[in-house]
């Protein structure tokens, strides 16, 4: 809905001007005015001390709310292995379905004889499975075509997929085709008690802000969900469900995967699966400092991470980088040593269970997300900590 300034109450104090990321607020003749640069991001709402900035009621002629029931999860797999995010989505989907009093379905494309059963044990009531060879490799068009067709036939109210390279590439095509909304890279999902709409929370502006997104009229409400933030449901061996075989008739592709090249380094895999990560930033000071971290990691059985600053300095290779432009990790314990905690780093590690921050500067933003904070010199703290941990573990 358009955002307007009430000229009667506006005092021209300019508080709102710098709150706008798009420079869309100007002061003209002593009053704030919203220009055509406005992107309706709502960053200015609530900023005005006089409450003079608000949304107007007119949202234009809206469509009727379309119908749908059931929660769906797209279960991604690569090389016949179901991606971890699929089980996380089933956990999130289960909670949403229970809240709505409806059922949970999973969709699996590609050969995988044991896959549907697995998905049921992780929480699905029903699995749509297409075993066609067409889905052995990932091509956007056939994935989008078949998922759109199934959604069109069964009309779920919510569809979730992983915010992975695969999900973020083909799910937008499905949303475009079905003329419905899609929220990118969500980190939290809930149901609004009153409207029963899906409340979708996601980072934007490079992780500097969080936004709640709604898709009020069209169905299904679609979202891609960031890996490693949702909790899995209980794996239940006794769960039963329905398996529906789906054919890929009439589905084609104008792209073809000629070759698939694996380039995983040990560390990259390690980081995303690690239980404990010891990470260093600019404060580590150099390769020498990283040796202290290697020793701590060795005592803990941990993997080594780094902030972009340390990677850019050349102290440690890029594949160790955690954050917006590196890996997203979610270990049990994350040690942030000499890392200031720029948002771009935080978005990559915030979902760790326990965050331990060690930093000289008590004002460092890393302490805002820490479970345990130690202010002090890491060159003194780390060696002592390594020693005490070795003792505690009887090493």
């Amino acid at each position: 809905m358009p955002i307007v300034v009430n000229k009667d109450t506006c005092t021209g104090c300019e508080t709102c001007v710098s709150s706008c990321p798009y420079d869309a607020i100007v002061i003209r003749e002593g009053k704030a005015e919203i220009t055509e640069l406005c992107q309706l991001c709502k960053a200015c709402l609530g900023v005005c001390p006089e409450g003079a900035i608000r949304e107007t009621g007119e949202s234009g002629a809206r469509r009727e709310k379309s119908e749908g029931t059931g929660v769906w999860v797209f279960a991604e797999q690569r090389d016949g292995v179901i991606a971890g995010v699929s089980f996380e989505l089933l956990g999130a989907g289960r909670r949403l379905a229970d809240k709505l009093g409806t059922n949970l379905s999973a969709v699996l494309f590609g050969p995988n004889a044991a896959g549907p059963d697995e998905l049921i044990k992780w929480g699905a009531d029903r699995v749509f499975h297409c075993e066609d060879e067409l889905f052995r490799n990932f091509n956007d068009e056939p994935f989008a075509a078949l998922l759109s067709r199934l959604i069109g036939q069964h009309k779920p109210e919510i569809v979730l997929a992983g915010a992975t390279p695969i999900g973020r590439s083909f799910i937008p095509r499905v949303a475009a085709r079905l003329h419905t909304g899609l929220t990118a890279d969500c980190t939290s999902l809930d149901i609004d008690g009153e409207s029963r709409d899906l409340l979708q929370v996601r980072p934007a502006f490079g992780g500097n802000i969080m936004a709640t997104i709604l898709c009020p009229e069209t169905r299904p409400q679609m979202a891609t969900v960031r890996p490693r933030v949702m909790k899995r449901a209980e794996y239940d061996l006794s769960r039963n469900g329905e398996i529906v075989k789906v054919s890929a008739a009439d589905v084609g592709s104008r792209t073809r995967v000629v070759e698939t090249v694996k380039e995983v380094s040990e560390v990259a895999v390690n980081l995303q699966e690690a239980n404990i990560i010891v990470s260093g930033g600019r404060g580590v000071g150099g390769e020498k400092g990283f040796h202290l971290l290697y020793e701590l990691a060795d005592a803990l059985g941990a993997s080594i991470g780094a902030s972009r600053a340390a990677v850019d300095e050349g102290w440690i290779p890029y594949r160790h980088q955690v954050g917006q432009t590196g890996k997203t990790v979610g270990p049990r314990i994350y040690f942030a040593c000499g890392i200031s905690g720029a948002v771009q780093h935080l978005v990559g590690m915030q979902s760790s269970d326990i965050i331990i921050a060690i930093n000289k500067n008590p004002e460092a933003p890393i302490f805002d997300v820490a479970t345990y904070g130690i202010v002090g010199d890491l060159f003194e703290i780390i060696p002592l900590l390594t020693k005490r941990i070795r003792e505690a573990k009887g090493l």
């Binding site: 956007d140 990118a184 709640t212 898709c215 698939t260 002592l384």
Partner: protein, 260 residues
């Protein structure tokens, strides 16, 4: 080879900060730039033109001020620029943005459409694939290398979590690019001079024959409900005392949590 590069003018979000007390953005003097990924898309189009010949048009949807971004693209060497600007486009989400851009692309005609992987403000990475769907053409995301382009087909490398895929596609096709793809050239002096004088084609909703109910706020299925600062942890414990005491306290906590 006719190419259209979609570019977006964005605030440099690396400079945007949030005030945790008031929960509001602080944007003092944050500059507007061409979305960094889109600069790589421009470079890719120019390189294809150098090999296969053809014409490159830069296209943006935005307020009249977005003309600055188009002039920058012209100074890098694109042949033409078009600005989609109309009050009716205001408030577009990715669905409406992609619909509007696809209508303009139909008008301009293209064998290859290039987009950035994502824009650094909205951060959705959805506009490219959605344009391809509206145009009913294939798309390939996260292009890190273009092996071949010509003769009605293209072969590219798509970056994935665990490596990359080599993919062949028929034309027309839409590509979204990552920053590893190339090193963008700097505008030449001659380019800058030409860009200053160049005509920029303005397109309105009527020019592209768009359906009004699919534009802007009205055409957008999603809405931003509210925005807020990323949460800080409530359970934080600062460990106090001498270095020895702090380390001791931490080890005790970790043992207590059965982490060791």
């Amino acid at each position: 080879m006719n190419m259209v590069v979609c570019i977006k003018q964005v605030p440099d979000t690396a400079e945007v900060r949030i005030n945790p007390e008031t929960n509001t953005l602080i944007r003092d003097g944050v500059p507007s730039i061409i979305n960094p990924y889109d600069v790589h898309a421009i470079e890719a189009a120019l390189q294809i033109r150098e090999k296969a010949g053809g014409k490159v048009t830069a296209l943006t949807m935005g307020p009249p001020q977005a003309e600055v971004a188009l002039r920058e693209a012209l100074s890098m060497g694109v042949d033409d620029a078009a600005l989609l600007t109309d009050r009716a486009f205001a408030g577009s989400d990715t669905w409406a943005t992609a619909y509007t851009l696809s209508k303009a692309i139909q008008l301009l005609g293209a064998d290859i459409i290039l987009c950035g992987k994502q824009a650094i403000d909205g951060d959705t990475a959805q506009v490219g694939p959605e344009i391809a769907e509206f145009l009913d053409i294939p798309h390939i995301s996260y292009i890190r290398k273009i092996d071949e382009a010509g003769g009605g087909r293209i072969v590219v490398q798509r970056l994935m979590d665990d490596g990359f895929d080599v993919i062949e596609s028929s034309l027309p096709v839409l590509l979204t690019v990552v920053r590893e793809l190339n090193v963008p050239r700097l505008p030449s002096l001659k380019g800058k001079m030409a860009a200053k004088k160049a005509m920029i084609r303005k397109l309105t909703a009527a020019d592209i024959g768009a359906e009004e109910s699919s534009l802007g706020l009205r055409g957008s299925p999603t809405q931003v409900k509210n925005i807020f600062a990323p949460e800080s942890r409530k359970d934080r414990k600062m460990l106090e005392g001498t270095i020895e005491e702090k380390v001791e306290a931490l080890v005790r906590e970790l043992v207590g949590l059965k982490c060791l």
